[in-house]
């Protein structure tokens, strides 16, 4: 069984920054992946290198088992919807879709037409004159209708309002259900995509911080709230991600799955358990990672 994407010791230097720092990653495929991380974490750089739109400083990248560079066998099977996709000055959406339909062998014109309707996209205006949201819609339509075996969406929702984003999510789920493929969705809106993604990849400071099933992530942390002294006593010896205090009440988020017995124990001692959303968890993990790397003992960038 070969993974759709294999990345070995990938490093990308820009002048004085390390956009990707010795990344090793394997993506099996056949699922919707969330590629999450802060601005400048390295998400776009990673996707650009995977789609041969950028060069690695060092390391090895394989997509469908081959090097993607100038490799039409690989390139024709993937679609990269860039956040800042450039189009020719006089191109209209119609031109962009025509070009996409020629390039992508699985292109579904009926789906494209339906999406054009959904997003009420003006087809005869030049892309240059479209609003930011309409520009994003062009990318989303190409990304979905191309039905490429491997599709990257890089922050596809910029300028899209809540209704349009919901249309995107709904159509993505519908079409993916009928035509399973590999989709990599890069997003800041973690709460919005958390139910869509099967696996979470968190990238921070050019390193992979998390690569795990979304469901497994969900009960990886818990927040305990109650009397500060009791909460602190309970949390001692555990890996604390975050602590807040309000008067005599403290709220501590700790890493680790709680067994039913442990949960009962927490309740019995008069403390409250609160779930941690995927977004909170990722924010806390990212903060912890940067705190750890700032501290002299940066032993534990491993977060399992």
């Amino acid at each position: 069984m070969t993974a759709v994407i294999e990345v070995q010791n990938l490093t990308k230097h820009y002048k004085d920054t390390n956009a990707l720092d010795n990344v090793t990653l394997s993506i099996e495929g056949g699922a919707i992946y969330g590629l999450l991380g802060r601005n400048g974490a390295g998400k776009t750089t990673l996707m650009s290198i995977l789609t041969a739109q950028n060069f690695a400083t060092s390391g090895d990248v394989r997509v469908f088992g081959e090097h993607p560079y100038e490799n039409s066998r690989v390139l024709s099977r993937m679609c990269f919807v860039r956040e800042s996709q450039k189009y020719p000055d006089d191109a209209t959406p119609r031109h962009a879709f025509k070009a996409a339909s020629l390039f992508f062998t699985n292109w579904d014109q009926a789906l494209a037409d339906r999406l054009i309707d959904d997003f009420q996209l003006p087809m005869k205006q030049t892309i240059k004159k479209l609003s930011r949201g309409q520009l994003s819609a062009v990318g989303v339509i190409i990304g979905l209708a191309s039905r490429a075996e491997l599709t990257f969406f890089d922050e596809p929702y910029l300028g899209l309002d809540a209704v349009a984003r919901q249309i995107f999510y709904d159509r993505l789920i519908e079409d993916y259900a009928e035509h399973p493929r590999t989709i990599i969705l890069s997003s800041h809106l973690i709460d919005e995509v958390s139910n869509l993604i099967e696996r979470v990849i968190v990238i921070d400071n050019g390193k992979i911080l998390v690569n795990e099933e979304t469901d497994a992530m969900r009960d990886r942390a818990v927040t305990v709230v109650g009397d500060a002294a009791k909460v602190d006593a309970w949390a001692s010896g555990r890996e604390v991600l975050h602590r807040e205090e309000l008067g005599r009440v403290a709220s501590i988020t700790v890493l680790g799955h709680l067994s039913a017995d442990e949960r009962a124990g927490v309740a019995a001692s008069g403390l409250d358990l609160a779930p941690v959303s995927l977004q909170q968890l990722i924010v806390r993990l990212t903060q912890k990672a940067s705190a750890d790397s700032a501290a002299p003992t940066h032993e534990s960038q491993e977060v399992r």
Partner: protein, 135 residues
């Protein structure tokens, strides 16, 4: 409808169980497909499939090749037994904890329970004719 901090596939399984328990999904009737569940709850189809698999493992749903998933005969009884045994843990224990905090004794609680049950029964009786069943 979907809450945080609980595995999604378990929530999906529980939603289907609820429908079987309240009778909106009858035994030997067709259960929603993985793709229908994914679209309705706006979740990943693989997650929906995991929830469905959990119910087939339990014998609540069964698969008819090429047709889809169906509710097994006896599924409702299985679920009732399971839920009843979990009832005390899930509802009574937290109730007692909160009651203790408020200084309510067992007698107060019993009286309160009777009072509310009577009130609820009369509301259900009066709205029974007008209330339509959820589809």
């Amino acid at each position: 409808m979907i809450e945080e901090g609980k595995a999604l596939f378990i929530q999906i399984a529980e939603q289907i169980e609820d429908q079987i328990l309240d009778g909106s999904l009858e035994e030997e009737s067709k259960a929603p497909s993985t793709n229908e569940l994914a679209a309705f709850y706006r979740i990943n189809p693989a997650t929906a499939a995991k929830g469905v698999a959990m119910l087939t493992d339990k014998g609540v749903l069964y698969k008819q090749r090429g047709i889809g998933m169906f509710v097994a005969t006896g599924a409702r009884q299985t679920l009732l037994t399971e839920r009843r045994s979990a009832f005390a843990d899930r509802y009574i224990d937290p109730l007692l904890t909160e009651a203790r905090t408020l200084g309510l004794g067992t007698d107060d609680l019993t009286a309160l329970l009777r009072e509310r049950a009577t009130a609820a029964a009369s509301i259900t009786a009066s709205s029974a004719e007008s209330e339509g069943k959820p589809a």
